[in-house]
Symmetry: C2
Subunit: 275 residues, 2 copies
Protein backbone atom coordinates (compact mmCIF):
# COMPACT_ATOMS: atom_id res chain seq x y z
CA UNK A 1 0.00 0.00 0.00
CA UNK A 2 1.54 3.34 -0.94
CA UNK A 3 1.72 6.19 1.54
CA UNK A 4 -1.15 8.08 -0.03
CA UNK A 5 -3.44 5.18 0.80
CA UNK A 6 -2.48 5.05 4.46
CA UNK A 7 -5.30 6.51 6.58
CA UNK A 8 -4.78 9.76 8.44
CA UNK A 9 -4.72 8.85 12.13
CA UNK A 10 -5.09 10.87 15.30
CA UNK A 11 -2.82 9.84 18.20
CA UNK A 12 -5.29 10.11 21.06
CA UNK A 13 -4.24 7.67 23.75
CA UNK A 14 -5.78 8.17 27.20
CA UNK A 15 -4.06 7.86 30.60
CA UNK A 16 -4.32 4.16 31.33
CA UNK A 17 -4.70 4.12 35.09
CA UNK A 18 -6.07 6.39 37.79
CA UNK A 19 -5.23 6.23 41.47
CA UNK A 20 -8.12 6.18 43.92
CA UNK A 21 -8.26 5.77 47.70
CA UNK A 22 -9.57 2.39 48.86
CA UNK A 23 -10.05 1.05 52.39
CA UNK A 24 -8.51 -2.32 53.14
CA UNK A 25 -9.72 -5.04 55.53
CA UNK A 26 -7.89 -3.35 58.41
CA UNK A 27 -9.67 -0.03 57.81
CA UNK A 28 -6.56 1.56 56.35
CA UNK A 29 -6.87 3.84 53.34
CA UNK A 30 -4.58 2.61 50.58
CA UNK A 31 -4.00 4.40 47.25
CA UNK A 32 -5.10 1.96 44.55
CA UNK A 33 -4.46 2.15 40.82
CA UNK A 34 -7.49 1.27 38.68
CA UNK A 35 -7.87 0.92 34.94
CA UNK A 36 -9.43 3.67 32.86
CA UNK A 37 -12.69 3.00 31.02
CA UNK A 38 -14.14 5.37 28.45
CA UNK A 39 -17.03 5.27 26.03
CA UNK A 40 -15.97 5.74 22.42
CA UNK A 41 -18.76 6.22 19.91
CA UNK A 42 -17.84 5.14 16.40
CA UNK A 43 -19.09 7.14 13.44
CA UNK A 44 -18.38 5.96 9.91
CA UNK A 45 -18.98 8.57 7.20
CA UNK A 46 -21.01 10.49 9.79
CA UNK A 47 -23.23 7.46 10.53
CA UNK A 48 -23.28 6.35 14.21
CA UNK A 49 -22.41 2.64 14.33
CA UNK A 50 -21.71 1.63 17.92
CA UNK A 51 -20.25 2.76 21.25
CA UNK A 52 -17.26 0.80 22.54
CA UNK A 53 -16.12 0.90 26.17
CA UNK A 54 -12.34 1.04 26.15
CA UNK A 55 -9.22 1.70 28.18
CA UNK A 56 -8.34 4.19 25.46
CA UNK A 57 -4.75 3.05 24.98
CA UNK A 58 -4.94 2.62 21.20
CA UNK A 59 -8.28 3.99 19.99
CA UNK A 60 -7.22 4.31 16.34
CA UNK A 61 -5.99 0.72 16.05
CA UNK A 62 -9.06 -0.42 17.98
CA UNK A 63 -11.39 1.35 15.58
CA UNK A 64 -9.68 -0.03 12.49
CA UNK A 65 -9.53 -3.53 13.96
CA UNK A 66 -13.16 -3.43 15.03
CA UNK A 67 -14.22 -2.55 11.48
CA UNK A 68 -11.89 -5.27 10.16
CA UNK A 69 -13.14 -7.96 12.54
CA UNK A 70 -16.74 -7.03 11.84
CA UNK A 71 -15.91 -7.55 8.15
CA UNK A 72 -17.24 -4.07 7.47
CA UNK A 73 -13.91 -3.10 5.87
CA UNK A 74 -11.87 -5.56 3.80
CA UNK A 75 -8.56 -3.69 3.52
CA UNK A 76 -6.86 -0.72 5.12
CA UNK A 77 -6.93 1.34 1.95
CA UNK A 78 -10.71 1.52 2.20
CA UNK A 79 -10.18 3.86 5.18
CA UNK A 80 -9.24 7.48 4.47
CA UNK A 81 -9.00 8.72 8.05
CA UNK A 82 -9.58 7.80 11.71
CA UNK A 83 -9.89 10.78 14.03
CA UNK A 84 -10.48 10.31 17.77
CA UNK A 85 -11.84 13.25 19.79
CA UNK A 86 -12.04 12.52 23.54
CA UNK A 87 -13.72 15.90 24.06
CA UNK A 88 -16.85 14.21 22.76
CA UNK A 89 -15.79 10.56 23.32
CA UNK A 90 -16.10 9.89 19.61
CA UNK A 91 -14.06 8.50 16.75
CA UNK A 92 -14.88 9.61 13.23
CA UNK A 93 -13.95 7.28 10.39
CA UNK A 94 -14.03 8.43 6.79
CA UNK A 95 -14.01 5.71 4.15
CA UNK A 96 -13.01 6.11 0.51
CA UNK A 97 -16.04 4.29 -0.89
CA UNK A 98 -18.43 3.71 2.03
CA UNK A 99 -18.93 0.59 4.15
CA UNK A 100 -19.74 -2.62 2.29
CA UNK A 101 -23.04 -4.34 3.10
CA UNK A 102 -23.39 -1.95 6.04
CA UNK A 103 -27.16 -2.06 6.25
CA UNK A 104 -27.33 -5.80 5.85
CA UNK A 105 -24.59 -6.48 8.40
CA UNK A 106 -25.58 -3.91 10.98
CA UNK A 107 -29.05 -5.36 10.87
CA UNK A 108 -28.28 -8.56 12.76
CA UNK A 109 -26.41 -8.71 16.05
CA UNK A 110 -24.86 -11.44 18.10
CA UNK A 111 -23.90 -10.79 21.70
CA UNK A 112 -20.98 -13.13 22.10
CA UNK A 113 -19.63 -14.83 25.16
CA UNK A 114 -18.58 -12.77 28.15
CA UNK A 115 -15.14 -11.48 27.49
CA UNK A 116 -15.64 -11.99 23.78
CA UNK A 117 -16.48 -9.26 21.36
CA UNK A 118 -19.52 -7.63 22.81
CA UNK A 119 -21.34 -7.50 19.55
CA UNK A 120 -20.72 -9.33 16.33
CA UNK A 121 -22.77 -7.93 13.52
CA UNK A 122 -23.96 -10.29 10.82
CA UNK A 123 -21.47 -11.96 8.52
CA UNK A 124 -18.60 -13.01 10.75
CA UNK A 125 -20.04 -16.40 11.68
CA UNK A 126 -21.08 -17.10 8.11
CA UNK A 127 -17.60 -16.58 6.68
CA UNK A 128 -15.67 -18.79 9.06
CA UNK A 129 -16.06 -21.80 6.77
CA UNK A 130 -14.10 -19.97 4.07
CA UNK A 131 -11.04 -19.53 6.30
CA UNK A 132 -7.99 -21.58 5.28
CA UNK A 133 -5.09 -21.78 7.72
CA UNK A 134 -1.59 -22.80 6.57
CA UNK A 135 -0.66 -26.37 7.56
CA UNK A 136 3.08 -26.04 6.91
CA UNK A 137 3.62 -23.91 10.03
CA UNK A 138 4.77 -25.51 13.27
CA UNK A 139 4.77 -24.43 16.91
CA UNK A 140 7.61 -25.82 19.01
CA UNK A 141 7.04 -26.41 22.69
CA UNK A 142 10.23 -24.42 23.35
CA UNK A 143 8.72 -21.49 21.44
CA UNK A 144 5.57 -21.76 23.55
CA UNK A 145 7.64 -21.64 26.73
CA UNK A 146 9.56 -18.64 25.40
CA UNK A 147 6.22 -16.93 24.67
CA UNK A 148 4.98 -17.57 28.20
CA UNK A 149 8.16 -16.02 29.57
CA UNK A 150 7.93 -13.01 27.24
CA UNK A 151 4.27 -12.40 28.11
CA UNK A 152 5.07 -12.25 31.82
CA UNK A 153 6.94 -9.01 31.25
CA UNK A 154 4.21 -7.25 29.29
CA UNK A 155 1.10 -7.16 31.46
CA UNK A 156 1.92 -3.77 32.88
CA UNK A 157 -1.57 -2.40 33.41
CA UNK A 158 -2.89 -5.71 34.69
CA UNK A 159 -0.13 -5.86 37.29
CA UNK A 160 -0.78 -2.25 38.22
CA UNK A 161 -4.54 -2.07 38.21
CA UNK A 162 -6.01 -5.40 37.19
CA UNK A 163 -9.40 -5.37 35.47
CA UNK A 164 -7.88 -5.55 32.00
CA UNK A 165 -7.30 -8.29 29.47
CA UNK A 166 -4.17 -8.60 27.40
CA UNK A 167 -3.56 -9.91 23.90
CA UNK A 168 -0.22 -10.37 22.19
CA UNK A 169 0.89 -10.98 18.63
CA UNK A 170 4.06 -13.04 18.66
CA UNK A 171 6.47 -14.71 16.24
CA UNK A 172 8.97 -17.53 16.69
CA UNK A 173 12.63 -16.50 16.49
CA UNK A 174 15.71 -18.76 16.13
CA UNK A 175 16.34 -18.22 19.83
CA UNK A 176 12.78 -18.32 21.12
CA UNK A 177 9.77 -16.07 20.65
CA UNK A 178 9.35 -12.34 20.06
CA UNK A 179 6.27 -10.33 21.00
CA UNK A 180 5.53 -7.97 18.11
CA UNK A 181 2.70 -6.12 19.82
CA UNK A 182 0.85 -6.34 23.11
CA UNK A 183 -2.46 -4.60 23.82
CA UNK A 184 -4.43 -4.46 27.02
CA UNK A 185 -7.96 -3.18 27.42
CA UNK A 186 -10.86 -3.32 29.82
CA UNK A 187 -12.53 -5.40 27.14
CA UNK A 188 -10.63 -8.37 25.81
CA UNK A 189 -12.49 -8.01 22.54
CA UNK A 190 -11.00 -4.52 22.29
CA UNK A 191 -7.47 -5.87 22.74
CA UNK A 192 -8.08 -8.40 19.96
CA UNK A 193 -9.49 -5.74 17.67
CA UNK A 194 -6.59 -3.38 18.40
CA UNK A 195 -4.15 -6.09 17.33
CA UNK A 196 -6.13 -6.73 14.15
CA UNK A 197 -6.01 -3.01 13.40
CA UNK A 198 -2.30 -2.64 14.16
CA UNK A 199 -1.52 -5.68 11.99
CA UNK A 200 -3.09 -3.82 9.06
CA UNK A 201 -1.27 -0.61 9.92
CA UNK A 202 2.05 -2.47 10.13
CA UNK A 203 1.31 -4.58 7.03
CA UNK A 204 1.65 -7.87 8.95
CA UNK A 205 0.27 -11.22 7.77
CA UNK A 206 -1.02 -13.80 10.24
CA UNK A 207 0.35 -17.05 8.77
CA UNK A 208 3.63 -17.05 10.70
CA UNK A 209 2.26 -15.48 13.88
CA UNK A 210 1.08 -16.72 17.27
CA UNK A 211 -1.89 -15.08 18.97
CA UNK A 212 -1.85 -15.00 22.77
CA UNK A 213 -4.71 -13.94 25.02
CA UNK A 214 -5.09 -13.81 28.78
CA UNK A 215 -8.78 -14.50 28.28
CA UNK A 216 -10.91 -17.53 27.56
CA UNK A 217 -10.99 -19.45 24.30
CA UNK A 218 -14.56 -18.81 23.25
CA UNK A 219 -16.09 -19.28 19.80
CA UNK A 220 -15.53 -15.64 19.05
CA UNK A 221 -11.82 -15.65 19.99
CA UNK A 222 -11.29 -18.69 17.78
CA UNK A 223 -13.16 -17.10 14.89
CA UNK A 224 -11.27 -13.80 15.13
CA UNK A 225 -7.87 -15.51 15.31
CA UNK A 226 -8.73 -17.56 12.23
CA UNK A 227 -10.10 -14.50 10.40
CA UNK A 228 -6.73 -12.83 10.99
CA UNK A 229 -5.12 -15.83 9.29
CA UNK A 230 -3.23 -16.85 12.45
CA UNK A 231 -2.86 -20.65 12.87
CA UNK A 232 -1.82 -20.59 16.54
CA UNK A 233 -3.99 -19.48 19.49
CA UNK A 234 -2.58 -19.62 23.02
CA UNK A 235 -4.31 -18.71 26.26
CA UNK A 236 -3.61 -19.08 29.94
CA UNK A 237 -7.35 -19.62 30.44
CA UNK A 238 -9.83 -22.35 29.60
CA UNK A 239 -12.00 -23.08 26.61
CA UNK A 240 -15.65 -23.42 25.69
CA UNK A 241 -17.23 -26.28 23.77
CA UNK A 242 -18.14 -24.09 20.81
CA UNK A 243 -14.62 -22.65 20.69
CA UNK A 244 -13.28 -26.20 20.60
CA UNK A 245 -15.69 -27.29 17.87
CA UNK A 246 -14.87 -24.36 15.59
CA UNK A 247 -11.10 -24.70 16.18
CA UNK A 248 -11.36 -28.36 15.19
CA UNK A 249 -13.38 -27.60 12.08
CA UNK A 250 -10.99 -24.97 10.77
CA UNK A 251 -7.83 -26.75 11.93
CA UNK A 252 -6.58 -24.10 14.35
CA UNK A 253 -3.81 -25.12 16.72
CA UNK A 254 -5.12 -24.11 20.12
CA UNK A 255 -3.29 -24.28 23.45
CA UNK A 256 -5.01 -23.40 26.71
CA UNK A 257 -4.24 -23.29 30.43
CA UNK A 258 -0.75 -22.19 29.45
CA UNK A 259 1.08 -21.07 32.59
CA UNK A 260 4.81 -21.48 33.08
CA UNK A 261 5.65 -25.03 32.01
CA UNK A 262 2.06 -26.25 32.00
CA UNK A 263 -0.32 -26.21 29.06
CA UNK A 264 -3.04 -28.22 27.36
CA UNK A 265 -3.04 -28.72 23.59
CA UNK A 266 -6.72 -28.76 22.63
CA UNK A 267 -6.73 -28.86 18.82
CA UNK A 268 -4.42 -28.90 15.80
CA UNK A 269 -1.82 -31.29 17.27
CA UNK A 270 -0.36 -31.76 13.76
CA UNK A 271 1.29 -28.33 14.02
CA UNK A 272 2.71 -28.84 17.52
CA UNK A 273 6.27 -30.12 18.00
CA UNK A 274 7.55 -31.29 21.37
CA UNK A 275 11.28 -30.47 21.34
CA UNK B 1 -48.61 -11.00 41.07
CA UNK B 2 -51.32 -13.66 40.81
CA UNK B 3 -50.59 -17.00 39.22
CA UNK B 4 -52.42 -16.16 36.01
CA UNK B 5 -49.89 -13.40 35.38
CA UNK B 6 -46.86 -15.63 35.83
CA UNK B 7 -45.30 -16.36 32.41
CA UNK B 8 -45.39 -19.85 30.98
CA UNK B 9 -41.80 -21.09 31.03
CA UNK B 10 -40.04 -23.94 29.31
CA UNK B 11 -37.44 -25.80 31.40
CA UNK B 12 -34.73 -26.20 28.78
CA UNK B 13 -31.38 -26.35 30.58
CA UNK B 14 -28.42 -27.70 28.59
CA UNK B 15 -25.67 -30.05 29.80
CA UNK B 16 -23.18 -27.64 31.38
CA UNK B 17 -19.89 -29.34 30.60
CA UNK B 18 -18.46 -31.61 27.94
CA UNK B 19 -15.39 -33.80 28.30
CA UNK B 20 -12.78 -33.58 25.54
CA UNK B 21 -9.33 -35.12 25.19
CA UNK B 22 -6.46 -32.67 25.61
CA UNK B 23 -2.70 -33.27 25.43
CA UNK B 24 -0.67 -31.98 28.38
CA UNK B 25 2.92 -30.68 28.39
CA UNK B 26 4.25 -34.24 28.74
CA UNK B 27 2.40 -35.42 25.63
CA UNK B 28 -0.14 -37.35 27.68
CA UNK B 29 -3.78 -37.28 26.62
CA UNK B 30 -5.93 -36.14 29.56
CA UNK B 31 -9.74 -36.03 29.56
CA UNK B 32 -10.67 -32.40 30.19
CA UNK B 33 -14.06 -30.96 31.10
CA UNK B 34 -14.94 -27.77 29.21
CA UNK B 35 -17.91 -25.43 29.53
CA UNK B 36 -20.77 -25.55 27.05
CA UNK B 37 -21.47 -22.55 24.84
CA UNK B 38 -24.59 -22.21 22.74
CA UNK B 39 -26.12 -19.50 20.59
CA UNK B 40 -29.63 -18.54 21.72
CA UNK B 41 -31.53 -16.23 19.41
CA UNK B 42 -34.15 -14.15 21.19
CA UNK B 43 -37.46 -13.46 19.46
CA UNK B 44 -40.01 -11.18 21.11
CA UNK B 45 -43.50 -11.37 19.63
CA UNK B 46 -41.89 -13.05 16.59
CA UNK B 47 -39.41 -10.18 16.12
CA UNK B 48 -35.71 -11.21 16.19
CA UNK B 49 -33.93 -9.08 18.80
CA UNK B 50 -30.49 -10.51 19.47
CA UNK B 51 -28.43 -13.71 19.71
CA UNK B 52 -26.86 -14.47 23.10
CA UNK B 53 -24.02 -16.94 23.58
CA UNK B 54 -24.72 -18.88 26.73
CA UNK B 55 -23.85 -21.91 28.82
CA UNK B 56 -27.54 -22.73 28.63
CA UNK B 57 -27.98 -23.44 32.33
CA UNK B 58 -30.95 -21.14 32.87
CA UNK B 59 -32.10 -19.84 29.48
CA UNK B 60 -35.55 -18.76 30.66
CA UNK B 61 -34.24 -16.68 33.57
CA UNK B 62 -31.50 -15.33 31.29
CA UNK B 63 -34.06 -14.24 28.70
CA UNK B 64 -36.30 -12.53 31.26
CA UNK B 65 -33.34 -10.88 32.97
CA UNK B 66 -31.88 -9.70 29.67
CA UNK B 67 -35.17 -8.01 28.76
CA UNK B 68 -35.34 -6.57 32.29
CA UNK B 69 -31.79 -5.22 32.28
CA UNK B 70 -32.25 -3.77 28.81
CA UNK B 71 -35.28 -1.95 30.26
CA UNK B 72 -37.36 -3.41 27.45
CA UNK B 73 -39.76 -4.94 30.00
CA UNK B 74 -40.65 -3.16 33.25
CA UNK B 75 -42.37 -5.96 35.16
CA UNK B 76 -42.72 -9.73 34.92
CA UNK B 77 -46.44 -9.56 34.20
CA UNK B 78 -45.69 -7.93 30.85
CA UNK B 79 -44.39 -11.36 29.76
CA UNK B 80 -46.92 -14.02 28.81
CA UNK B 81 -44.51 -16.83 27.95
CA UNK B 82 -40.84 -17.73 27.48
CA UNK B 83 -40.27 -20.86 25.40
CA UNK B 84 -36.75 -22.13 24.66
CA UNK B 85 -36.25 -24.55 21.78
CA UNK B 86 -32.66 -25.84 21.51
CA UNK B 87 -33.59 -27.67 18.30
CA UNK B 88 -33.34 -24.27 16.64
CA UNK B 89 -31.25 -22.48 19.32
CA UNK B 90 -34.03 -19.99 19.86
CA UNK B 91 -36.14 -18.56 22.66
CA UNK B 92 -39.55 -17.16 21.83
CA UNK B 93 -40.98 -14.53 24.17
CA UNK B 94 -44.61 -13.50 23.96
CA UNK B 95 -45.54 -10.24 25.67
CA UNK B 96 -49.01 -9.21 26.79
CA UNK B 97 -48.80 -5.71 25.28
CA UNK B 98 -45.63 -5.58 23.18
CA UNK B 99 -42.18 -4.19 24.04
CA UNK B 100 -42.05 -0.60 25.19
CA UNK B 101 -39.93 1.84 23.17
CA UNK B 102 -38.57 -1.17 21.28
CA UNK B 103 -37.68 0.66 18.09
CA UNK B 104 -36.17 3.60 19.88
CA UNK B 105 -34.13 1.45 22.27
CA UNK B 106 -33.01 -1.20 19.80
CA UNK B 107 -31.82 1.61 17.59
CA UNK B 108 -28.76 2.52 19.63
CA UNK B 109 -26.20 0.03 20.86
CA UNK B 110 -23.35 0.20 23.32
CA UNK B 111 -20.76 -2.55 23.36
CA UNK B 112 -19.76 -2.53 26.99
CA UNK B 113 -16.55 -3.53 28.62
CA UNK B 114 -15.20 -7.00 28.07
CA UNK B 115 -16.91 -9.31 30.46
CA UNK B 116 -19.75 -6.86 30.80
CA UNK B 117 -23.03 -7.13 29.00
CA UNK B 118 -22.08 -7.52 25.39
CA UNK B 119 -24.63 -5.06 24.17
CA UNK B 120 -26.59 -2.43 26.02
CA UNK B 121 -29.34 -1.00 23.91
CA UNK B 122 -30.28 2.61 24.44
CA UNK B 123 -31.81 3.76 27.70
CA UNK B 124 -29.90 1.94 30.38
CA UNK B 125 -27.19 4.56 30.77
CA UNK B 126 -29.74 7.39 30.68
CA UNK B 127 -31.79 6.04 33.56
CA UNK B 128 -28.99 5.44 36.04
CA UNK B 129 -29.42 8.94 37.51
CA UNK B 130 -32.94 8.05 38.59
CA UNK B 131 -31.77 5.10 40.69
CA UNK B 132 -32.14 5.56 44.46
CA UNK B 133 -30.43 3.03 46.74
CA UNK B 134 -31.49 2.62 50.39
CA UNK B 135 -29.05 4.18 52.87
CA UNK B 136 -30.40 2.45 55.97
CA UNK B 137 -28.89 -0.92 54.99
CA UNK B 138 -25.53 -1.99 56.38
CA UNK B 139 -22.93 -4.58 55.37
CA UNK B 140 -20.93 -6.07 58.24
CA UNK B 141 -17.39 -7.22 57.60
CA UNK B 142 -18.34 -10.53 59.24
CA UNK B 143 -21.17 -10.90 56.71
CA UNK B 144 -18.71 -10.22 53.89
CA UNK B 145 -16.40 -12.94 55.20
CA UNK B 146 -19.33 -15.35 55.47
CA UNK B 147 -20.24 -14.53 51.87
CA UNK B 148 -16.70 -15.25 50.68
CA UNK B 149 -16.82 -18.60 52.43
CA UNK B 150 -20.25 -19.46 51.00
CA UNK B 151 -19.19 -18.52 47.47
CA UNK B 152 -16.23 -20.87 47.59
CA UNK B 153 -18.62 -23.83 47.64
CA UNK B 154 -20.70 -22.72 44.65
CA UNK B 155 -18.39 -22.38 41.69
CA UNK B 156 -18.99 -25.87 40.51
CA UNK B 157 -18.63 -25.40 36.77
CA UNK B 158 -15.69 -23.06 37.15
CA UNK B 159 -13.85 -25.62 39.26
CA UNK B 160 -14.73 -28.33 36.78
CA UNK B 161 -14.20 -26.60 33.48
CA UNK B 162 -13.18 -22.99 34.02
CA UNK B 163 -14.11 -20.48 31.33
CA UNK B 164 -17.23 -19.36 33.15
CA UNK B 165 -18.13 -16.42 35.34
CA UNK B 166 -20.28 -16.70 38.45
CA UNK B 167 -22.71 -14.30 40.04
CA UNK B 168 -24.51 -14.76 43.35
CA UNK B 169 -27.44 -13.08 45.04
CA UNK B 170 -26.93 -13.21 48.80
CA UNK B 171 -28.56 -11.99 51.98
CA UNK B 172 -27.22 -11.44 55.49
CA UNK B 173 -28.51 -13.88 58.14
CA UNK B 174 -28.22 -13.64 61.94
CA UNK B 175 -25.42 -16.19 61.74
CA UNK B 176 -23.68 -14.99 58.60
CA UNK B 177 -24.68 -14.88 54.94
CA UNK B 178 -26.95 -17.02 52.77
CA UNK B 179 -26.62 -17.40 49.03
CA UNK B 180 -30.14 -17.25 47.54
CA UNK B 181 -29.11 -18.02 43.98
CA UNK B 182 -25.88 -18.61 42.10
CA UNK B 183 -25.58 -18.57 38.32
CA UNK B 184 -22.58 -19.32 36.16
CA UNK B 185 -22.31 -18.67 32.46
CA UNK B 186 -19.70 -18.36 29.74
CA UNK B 187 -20.67 -14.71 29.69
CA UNK B 188 -20.65 -12.88 32.98
CA UNK B 189 -23.32 -10.56 31.61
CA UNK B 190 -25.51 -13.62 31.17
CA UNK B 191 -25.05 -14.65 34.80
CA UNK B 192 -26.07 -11.15 35.90
CA UNK B 193 -29.10 -11.18 33.65
CA UNK B 194 -30.12 -14.66 34.83
CA UNK B 195 -30.10 -13.41 38.42
CA UNK B 196 -32.19 -10.37 37.45
CA UNK B 197 -34.67 -12.71 35.75
CA UNK B 198 -34.83 -15.16 38.66
CA UNK B 199 -35.33 -12.29 41.13
CA UNK B 200 -38.47 -11.37 39.22
CA UNK B 201 -39.62 -14.98 39.03
CA UNK B 202 -39.09 -15.40 42.79
CA UNK B 203 -40.56 -11.97 43.60
CA UNK B 204 -37.37 -10.77 45.30
CA UNK B 205 -36.50 -7.12 45.98
CA UNK B 206 -32.90 -5.90 45.87
CA UNK B 207 -32.77 -3.52 48.84
CA UNK B 208 -31.67 -6.13 51.42
CA UNK B 209 -29.50 -8.17 49.06
CA UNK B 210 -25.80 -8.41 48.27
CA UNK B 211 -24.67 -8.97 44.69
CA UNK B 212 -21.47 -10.97 44.22
CA UNK B 213 -19.59 -11.44 40.96
CA UNK B 214 -16.37 -13.24 40.10
CA UNK B 215 -15.84 -10.68 37.36
CA UNK B 216 -14.61 -7.15 37.17
CA UNK B 217 -16.44 -4.10 38.46
CA UNK B 218 -17.04 -2.25 35.23
CA UNK B 219 -19.49 0.59 34.59
CA UNK B 220 -22.01 -1.89 33.32
CA UNK B 221 -21.84 -4.19 36.37
CA UNK B 222 -22.33 -1.19 38.65
CA UNK B 223 -25.27 0.07 36.60
CA UNK B 224 -27.00 -3.31 36.51
CA UNK B 225 -26.57 -3.87 40.25
CA UNK B 226 -28.06 -0.45 40.93
CA UNK B 227 -30.88 -1.03 38.43
CA UNK B 228 -31.78 -4.17 40.42
CA UNK B 229 -32.01 -1.96 43.51
CA UNK B 230 -29.14 -3.76 45.25
CA UNK B 231 -26.98 -1.46 47.43
CA UNK B 232 -24.04 -3.87 47.84
CA UNK B 233 -21.72 -5.08 45.07
CA UNK B 234 -18.86 -7.45 45.91
CA UNK B 235 -16.24 -8.88 43.57
CA UNK B 236 -13.04 -10.82 43.90
CA UNK B 237 -11.71 -8.83 40.92
CA UNK B 238 -10.70 -5.25 40.34
CA UNK B 239 -12.61 -2.26 39.05
CA UNK B 240 -12.50 0.34 36.31
CA UNK B 241 -12.48 4.11 36.68
CA UNK B 242 -15.94 4.50 35.17
CA UNK B 243 -17.33 1.79 37.44
CA UNK B 244 -15.89 3.69 40.39
CA UNK B 245 -17.29 7.03 39.23
CA UNK B 246 -20.81 5.70 38.72
CA UNK B 247 -20.77 3.79 42.03
CA UNK B 248 -19.78 7.01 43.80
CA UNK B 249 -22.46 9.05 42.06
CA UNK B 250 -25.28 6.65 42.94
CA UNK B 251 -23.95 5.78 46.39
CA UNK B 252 -23.40 2.07 45.82
CA UNK B 253 -21.32 0.23 48.42
CA UNK B 254 -18.69 -1.56 46.37
CA UNK B 255 -16.08 -4.03 47.61
CA UNK B 256 -13.43 -5.45 45.28
CA UNK B 257 -10.44 -7.79 45.41
CA UNK B 258 -12.40 -9.79 47.99
CA UNK B 259 -10.58 -13.06 48.59
CA UNK B 260 -10.55 -14.85 51.93
CA UNK B 261 -9.89 -12.21 54.57
CA UNK B 262 -8.68 -9.58 52.11
CA UNK B 263 -10.82 -6.95 50.42
CA UNK B 264 -10.84 -3.33 49.32
CA UNK B 265 -13.81 -1.07 50.04
CA UNK B 266 -14.01 1.25 47.04
CA UNK B 267 -17.21 3.26 47.56
CA UNK B 268 -20.15 3.68 49.92
CA UNK B 269 -18.16 3.34 53.16
CA UNK B 270 -21.16 4.73 55.07
CA UNK B 271 -22.90 1.34 54.72
CA UNK B 272 -19.90 -0.76 55.77
CA UNK B 273 -19.44 -1.86 59.39
CA UNK B 274 -16.18 -3.36 60.66
CA UNK B 275 -17.27 -5.73 63.43
Amino acid sequence: MNASQRPLLSQASRPLTVEIPAINEHGETVPTAIAGEHPLTLYVDKREIVTLMTLGAAPEALTIGWLRNQRLVRSLDEIASVQVDWEVDAVSVTTRNGLRDADEKLGSRTVTTGCGQGTVFGGLMDEIDQVRLPHDRLLKQSTLYALMEAVRHHESIYKQAGAVHGCALAQATPGGCEILMFFEDVGRHNAVDAIAGQMWLDGLEGADKIFYTTGRLTSEMVIKTAQMGIPFLVSRSGLTHMGWQIAQNIGLTMVGRAQGKHHLLFTGADRFVRD
